[in-house]
């Protein structure tokens, strides 16, 4: 894909991402919402940053995770944080913005930039708790806003939607949810070039947002398929 440049003033519109993160997964479980992704940012096909957090806390009841261009992700975090600060620092000292408000706001922004052919090259998942109910929403680079019980963005769309559809239940415990997401990320580690096995999980419950420390998931390379592949083929 060629990088499109326009000669009008200093504007350079980009339709290709530069430093990218791969898939993000999210699902609702019994007590809340969980987001999971790996901690890697790639520069094209090169593994450039091995300790890059692609999950961010926006407010006490909202967290986001993004796949796609990471500079746009950082910009999104700035915009949403600015929005939260404006919301919290009014004279009534009350916070009115809900996770779905943030999600709608980003979808409006995303659509705006897309119509200028300078899109925010991210698929962002919003995890939150509002009115005592869990909320899981997604905004894509076109500005589409969706809400669902589980999401898989990027490469995981092709590999993990089947796993999630089969295994997801509304009454999953936190441990079951974590195991399901780990198994999805494991499949991605096996199959997606840009994915890694060092992952990070974020849980949003009534108690708030908890972004855990990254950890390495197990993977089994001791399969005859891999052994045979290298020796016999």
């Amino acid at each position: 894909k060629k990088k499109r440049t326009r000669m009008e003033g200093k504007n350079t519109h980009t339709t290709t991402p530069i430093v990218t993160g791969t898939s993000v997964l999210g699902l609702k479980f019994k007590d809340g919402v969980m987001l999971a992704c790996d901690t890697q940012a790639c520069y094209g096909r090169m593994t450039r940053y091995k300790n890059f957090s692609r999950i961010a806390k926006i407010s006490d009841n909202t967290a986001i995770a993004s796949s796609g261009d990471m500079s746009d992700f950082q910009q999104i975090v700035k915009s949403l944080t600015e929005k939260r600060i404006q919301d919290e620092t009014r004279e009534d000292l009350t916070s009115y913005l809900t996770p779905s408000d943030y999600c709608s706001y980003l979808s409006t922004l995303s659509y705006y930039w897309r119509m200028k052919v300078n899109p925010l090259l991210n698929s962002t998942l919003f995890a939150g708790f509002q009115e005592n109910k869990p909320f899981l929403g997604m905004v894509d680079p076109y500005g589409t806003k969706l809400e669902n019980n589980f999401f898989a963005t990027g490469m995981s769309m092709y590999f993990c939607n089947v796993l999630l559809t089969e295994k997801w239940r509304a009454d999953m415990t936190k441990q079951e949810a974590k195991e399901l997401l780990e198994s999805c990320l494991r499949v991605l580690f096996y199959r997606d070039c840009l994915a890694t096995d060092k992952i990070q999980i974020c849980t949003v419950t009534t108690e708030g947002v908890n972004i855990e420390e990254p950890y390495t998931i197990s993977s089994d390379w001791d399969l005859s398929f891999f052994k045979k592949w290298t020796t016999e083929h």
């Binding site: 009534d92 913005l97 779905s100 408000d101 709608s104 706001y105 409006t108 806003k145």
Partner: protein, 263 residues
């Protein structure tokens, strides 16, 4: 042909050196132009607002300039969760309504949810304040009662030309509003126990207190309601008529029974 002559002495009595613009304080610490703007609200016909936790009612008395003319509308819906009634210079009020509607629409477009009411009041009061601190501007000449509903229930706010806004359980603004306020003060502690119907009746009784001699018709009374599950709605004239019987009776007025004392 009687010539009305403006006496210099009469003129001197009302003239004040401190009321030329919004930039001048009087020795008493008042900005007289803002006080005069508050007077303009008192010249407008009455608006009454009252609420319980889950229901709210706005009542307005409309004026007609001439018997051949219609009545001036002063109650408008702003968004599905918000409505307003004004007293004072209605032209200013309509502009305010347009601004509020625009803000709510923009918020809806960006966030896909309704504008928090106190935030909207903050925006409105900022706009009002700018007009009270300039040599070339005048304050709004209209007071506004805003009735709205959000996640924490129904709220009634008032916004005045001096750019102050307050939340009330019940309030009245406009001509002879003090009598209506007196009635509301007597009964407001009971409003949380009232049904929507009872709130409307209370509001109309308060209206009756302020204009004891007037005949209330479906043309000159506006009623707006907001409820638990309903959005802000202005009642149709046909829906208003049944309520007016109670306040149009020539007979001795029955005092409103409070819920606590009823069986």
């Amino acid at each position: 042909n009687k010539q009305i002559s403006l006496n210099w002495e009469d003129f001197q009595m009302w003239r004040s050196e401190y009321d030329k613009d919004c930039l001048t304080f009087s020795p008493q610490g008042k900005i007289l132009q803002i006080d005069y703007a508050m007077e303009a609200v008192k010249q407008g016909s009455i608006s009454i607002g009252l609420r319980s936790k889950n229901f709210g009612v706005l009542i307005a008395l409309k004026r007609s300039p001439h018997e051949m003319a219609g009545h001036q509308e002063k109650m408008f819906d702003i968004d599905e969760h918000l409505g307003m009634s004004m007293s004072g210079i209605t032209a200013d009020g309509r502009l305010m309504c347009k601004y509020l509607r625009n803000e709510c629409l923009n918020y809806k477009f960006t966030h896909d949810s309704t504008h928090p009411i106190s935030r909207l009041l903050q925006k409105l009061s900022l706009k009002s304040q700018i007009k009270t601190q300039s040599g070339s501007k005048r304050p709004y000449g209209v007071g506004v009662l805003l009735l709205g509903k959000d996640a924490s229930g129904v709220h009634l706010y008032t916004s005045m030309p001096n750019a102050e806004y307050f939340e009330y359980t019940a309030f009245a603004i406009g001509a002879r509003s003090q009598s209506a306020k007196t009635y509301l003060e007597k009964h407001f502690e009971n409003f949380d126990n009232c049904t929507l119907e009872q709130l409307i009746e209370h509001g109309l009784q308060a209206l009756k207190k302020s204009e004891t001699e007037m005949e209330f018709t479906k043309e000159n009374v506006s009623i707006g309601i907001i409820g638990d599950t309903s959005k802000f709605v202005k009642l149709e004239p046909e829906q208003i008529e049944p309520y007016l019987g109670a306040i149009n009776t020539e007979a001795e007025e029955q005092p409103m029974q409070d819920q606590v004392h009823q069986k």
